[in-house]
Symmetry: C2
Subunit: 473 residues, 2 copies
Amino acid sequence: MRYDLPALKARLKGIHIEDNPALLRQKSRDFYWYSPTLKRQLDGVIGDLLAAPASEEEVLRILAACFALGIPVTPRGAGTGNYGQAMPLAGGLVLDLSRLDKVLEIAPGRVRAQAGALLADIDAACAPSGQELRLHPSTYRTASIGGFIAGGSGGVGSISWGGLRDLGNILSLRIATMEASPQILTLSGEEVQKIAHAYGTNGIILDVEMPLAAAYDWTEAMIGFTDFAEAAAYAQALGEQDAILKKLVSVIAAPIPQTAFLRHRRFLPEGMHVVLVMLAPMGSAAFESFTARRGGTMLFRSDLLAEADRHGLPPLYELAWNHTTLRALRVDPAITYLQTLYPHPDPLARVARIHSRLGDEVPAHLEFVRFDGRITCFGLPLVHYTSEARLDAIIALHEELGIPVFNPHRYTLEEGGMKQTDPAQLAFKREADPKGLLNPGKMIAWENPEFDFATGRTYLFPGLEGRDAGEAG
Amino acid sequence: MRYDLPALKARLKGIHIEDNPALLRQKSRDFYWYSPTLKRQLDGVIGDLLAAPASEEEVLRILAACFALGIPVTPRGAGTGNYGQAMPLAGGLVLDLSRLDKVLEIAPGRVRAQAGALLADIDAACAPSGQELRLHPSTYRTASIGGFIAGGSGGVGSISWGGLRDLGNILSLRIATMEASPQILTLSGEEVQKIAHAYGTNGIILDVEMPLAAAYDWTEAMIGFTDFAEAAAYAQALGEQDAILKKLVSVIAAPIPQTAFLRHRRFLPEGMHVVLVMLAPMGSAAFESFTARRGGTMLFRSDLLAEADRHGLPPLYELAWNHTTLRALRVDPAITYLQTLYPHPDPLARVARIHSRLGDEVPAHLEFVRFDGRITCFGLPLVHYTSEARLDAIIALHEELGIPVFNPHRYTLEEGGMKQTDPAQLAFKREADPKGLLNPGKMIAWENPEFDFATGRTYLFPGLEGRDAGEAG
């Protein structure tokens, strides 16, 4: 046993803990298995103990106890990430924040909620005020707000509001530090970026304040094109329609919609590339005019469907973003994916260039967003997986063509993200987690300041060394 | 007497009419006098009779009567336009729609109101639902929704929503045609563009359906820069902050704020170029971070001001758009203005180029907007007026530098707008106003299909010929 668990248990008296191995295993995982690489590397990862505090005071007691005993703490919300971000690479304590789920305050344009509150539950609480969260991942019905901020980047809503990285999409965060006497700090303005998308490596999010937008009964539409470039150009132009309010604009190349969207399949003719749109309902006549001008075929409109025909259909956002990957994977387990950005100038030319090089091996999936004041798209292309070497070659080809890859086959912040250390996150970790006990192994800059990203080598957390037994099938 | 007014009066029995000359003169005008050219051309324009219907049925009776007698009809809302658009160039009937002022229906994301309803009154009616109009001109407190649609283009709110020309910013219009038996038609989707910004030349707007946005108690801010280019770059970058919700981003070059914004003058140090911002209040910490990064000096923040210090200050939008012009004109009657667009690529380089050529003669005034999915700015530069010839030379210089001018010194749709006929508006006029009785003289394509825009000559409506007595001082 690496850690003094009996002493820890003694200190946590009165707090809900779990050491049932099956439960511990389940609560030590996320959707890392989307990636064959992460599946190979992380399959054996498991915490030594789980604690599920029911109050802020219990969180502080847990942190103080682990600090005193030198036991790592890996926080988790609902475990819906897919970079292994909530997985305790060094074992220790899994801090399950799902019981901190209260919506604390709702006001015009803002909501304050505890970190473990589920996104859909926050929106349900905001609905009477006619408001909802600006942004959510496709795991809206199961993900927590704290997990979204700690490990997400945007998603549904980004076509109107940009991403979590944008100033103003997280209003403030109350966090606990990992010290002998943990402190509670409130960060707002650009300060929130120290903690956002840091995987819980430099503070424990207790509660969050998020901006709200007007809530609508969003109309869902699917528009078909026989030509993929036309579908992509339509989606870009729809994004650029400033007066048609959208929440989602996705493009998915045939044959993925026809093979993976099982419940919607009857609406999807063979060979059609499909654009998914969530639209504020007052814009429907403008949307119809726009779509007719561009020659799109209206395949599906939720508001024109009889009640009986809507029955059993998942919400459209559960066909988009990472749910596209999930649905494709369910039908064909040999599929994996990438996360890419098509920057200006001329993002659609980059899309065309990479997909003409990769053909059927990498079916296209685009998610349109606002990015630095303009409309562009992220890619979540699907990959018919053959080997890690081939996956690396596909990634290298993207980067050669000026298409950055946020590699979802890496569990560190730096390798999954911007290929460099975030100095504000690192500096804040020095203050808030001086012993380096929070979610070890995820921030290379902390673990190995000498690591040279230029070599192209993958960082391997020493705690995982025993487990990395060569490439899996 | 050109028209058979006794016969008209007989047919209008029971409808409120006016022929008092002072009142008729007042109700035959708008803010045309912002332009010395229009002031010279239009000062004598006056209708022969005013009718102020109290119901849709009365509107139809008036139109039928005027059609039967061949009497022109010029509709007006509140007369807050500044292109002479509501002025009856051929005399005849002034159709005052201000009594049709009911808010008919409010639903999530939409409002339906009669044409004469004032913008501020519509918002007051929508406030209990937490909603407000997306867009309004700076004449918000006095302008009608029908007049805004018939003669406006956007304004406050365009930084988030684009302009009225954008599909989705007008949901539907009910209009009456000018025929023997006037019809009522409903237009939606792109069909509304036949009528929008047509000055009432091809149909009488009865009621309108407009999209709503979330209402906020908008924070007002003024940020100062000693360098004008830095102020403009700050405004552009603030516009591009996708997660900071704004309703107004304006830049006004010194010394105009200091000389013209009399009630705010105590906040405005000499020499500072000023950025006006209306900001959704939940974004204030993000806004402060952003402003600090860019080195702006916070001169004024409505939410940080004591109640006593706010007393007597006009709302910030009444310093912006055409109210900037109005305030400058009040202080110096020799000032006039232009309306321009700085298109991509590199709108700020165009701003720098024109203002370096024109110097103090043309103080800069920029209004930032979304336009085709991107942030750019319109210009409403102030002009120290000397002569019409010099004004034309200033306009020509803009156009040489790739800066289109929507000439506010012309009363026709084509010369004020896009330098060409809108074929959809013209075709619709043939159907809806076969005798050409609606607002005569405003659509060149109807009056004189042979008119050659390429000559650069100004169109002169024949009905005005007797009045055009050379250039005024």
